[in-house]
């Protein structure tokens, strides 16, 4: 594992993402529109706006995963480890998520004056935390951007239609953040929102790693085979 390779991946991901200005602008405006559209209808606006922020960050993560897919095999063949590529992207996207969630927190704290502003900020932060690995998983499994975005709309849409107190909501990835957002404006207990969200993020990252490694070239196995054959400095491979 090389820190330099992780940081170079993060930097290039940042350059690429930064050049998608229109797409990123639209993605960021989308949850803002959700929040703005419901701000006059009471406390639900905070939950709607906060959970809808997953559109921004997961959407960016899907784009990153899909654009990298044709290049990743070559990068891995050249010497990258799949986990280095994934960690580099995760790092950059989480930084992006922190920036977007910070902006949203400020807007919603001043726009809705919640009972517990810290819970609002933490809820938005948890949504951001889970959104990145969720987007990387969806991007890793979707054949094209359209399918990935439709899955994103479906999952976030269902989460938005459920109350955080409903059992079904707990089975969706943004429940922890939703529950904290609910707590910030209503009298709902926090419960296991934080550990649940962290667990969701960890499981999603593990799935993203698995997907990436499954799609990665067989170079690792190749080196092992060549070593078994007693031929140093080269590679060879055989069926799994």
């Amino acid at each position: 594992m090389s820190v330099r390779r992780i940081f170079v991946t993060a930097k290039m991901t940042g350059l690429e993402l930064g050049r998608r200005r229109i797409a990123i602008g639209l993605l960021t405006a989308l949850p803002l529109a959700f929040y703005g559209g419901s701000v006059g209808r009471g406390s639900g606006a905070v939950i709607t706006g906060g959970v809808a922020m997953a559109f921004s960050i997961s959407g960016a993560s899907i784009f990153v995963a899909l654009t990298a897919r044709p290049v990743d095999p070559r990068l891995i063949l050249a010497g990258y480890h799949p986990t280095e590529l994934l960690l580099g992207r995760l790092l950059l996207l989480e930084v992006f998520g922190v920036a977007v969630s910070g902006l949203f927190s400020v807007i919603m704290v001043f726009g809705s004056t919640p009972n517990h502003p810290w819970a609002l900020a933490a809820g938005v932060g948890l949504v951001a935390l889970t959104s990145v690995p969720f987007g990387l998983v969806v991007g890793g499994l979707s054949p094209h951007e359209l399918e990935g975005v439709l899955v994103l709309i479906g999952v976030v849409g269902v989460q938005l239609t459920l109350f955080s107190t409903q059992l079904a909501a707990k089975f969706l990835p943004f429940w922890g953040g939703q529950r904290l957002l609910d707590h910030s404006v209503n009298t709902v207990a926090v419960g296991a929102a934080v550990p649940a969200d962290i667990a969701y993020a960890a499981v999603l990252f593990a799935i993203a790693t698995y997907v990436m490694r499954r799609q990665a070239p067989s170079v690792g196995g190749a080196r092992r085979h060549f070593a078994r054959a007693g031929l140093a400095g080269g590679q060879g491979f055989e069926p799994r």
Binding site: A222, L231, R240
Partner: protein, 233 residues
């Protein structure tokens, strides 16, 4: 439709059987050795007991009709996909140039070189310097400093080839590497093949051009089989 096995022959010679194909490069120190490669996609046999060997300093052309599995064989030799059966051994690092340039549309050529640098153990400066030398030999339009999405097909292919060559390689697997090249770049490419051979690099080129077959040491033809040789997995 299935591919049976490759015929390996010197230019303008009659096709030979698969075992004959292995003979020249089975000697110790062969750059690339693939034996008994079988691959199916959705139940369709694409490669059936295909073997290929390339000696250091040897250039081999792979020919065959569309769908014969030329690119699949290259991807298997590069280690990008696993065969259903068979073994591949490569002595040293592989430089692989895919048929479709795998590039980031929103990054420039220099940014690609910088991205590949740490994987190859090069500093950013070294990779850009080496990459510029390679690209300038194929008349890459540096002046544009454009993102890849704004490059012509030929320029994208030049960058694709340069990334395969970056950092040096013992075996080069080039899948129709000069698509979109102008005449000068095409001629330059074959001059480079001769130079790589002199440097002891094994070169495999997938091609459809008959003229190219006079520029290599051997030609491997992938043919369509009627009888399957691989057992269904």
């Amino acid at each position: 439709m299935a591919v049976q096995a490759q015929a390996l022959r010197p230019p303008h010679a009659d096709p030979a059987g698969p075992l004959a194909a292995l003979a020249p490069a089975q000697a110790p120190g062969s750059a690339l050795l693939a034996m008994g490669i079988c691959k199916r996609y959705s139940g369709r046999r694409v490669l059936d007991d295909v073997s290929l060997s390339v000696a250091p300093g040897e250039a081999v052309a792979i020919i065959g009709e569309n769908g014969a599995g030329k690119s699949t064989l290259m991807r298997i030799c590069a280690g990008l996909i696993q065969p259903d059966a068979g073994q591949v051994s490569v002595s040293g690092r592989v430089g692989y140039c895919p048929q479709e340039p795998g590039l980031f549309d929103l990054l420039s050529a220099d940014e690609h070189l910088a991205m590949f640098a740490p994987a190859l153990g090069l500093s950013r400066k070294q990779a850009i310097h080496e990459g510029h030398l390679l690209l300038s030999e194929f008349a890459f339009p540096f002046a544009q400093r454009a993102q890849c999405r704004h490059l012509s097909g030929g320029s994208r292919q030049k960058l694709n080839l340069a990334l395969a060559l970056l950092g040096g390689a013992h075996v080069l697997l080039l899948d129709e590497p000069y698509q979109g090249f102008d005449h000068g770049a095409y001629v330059s490419f074959w001059e480079h093949v001769a130079r790589w051979k002199d440097g002891g690099i094994g070169v495999v080129v997938v091609t459809h051009l008959l003229a190219d077959q006079d520029l290599v040491d051997r030609v491997v033809e992938l043919t369509i089989a009627t009888e399957p040789l691989c057992e269904a997995p």
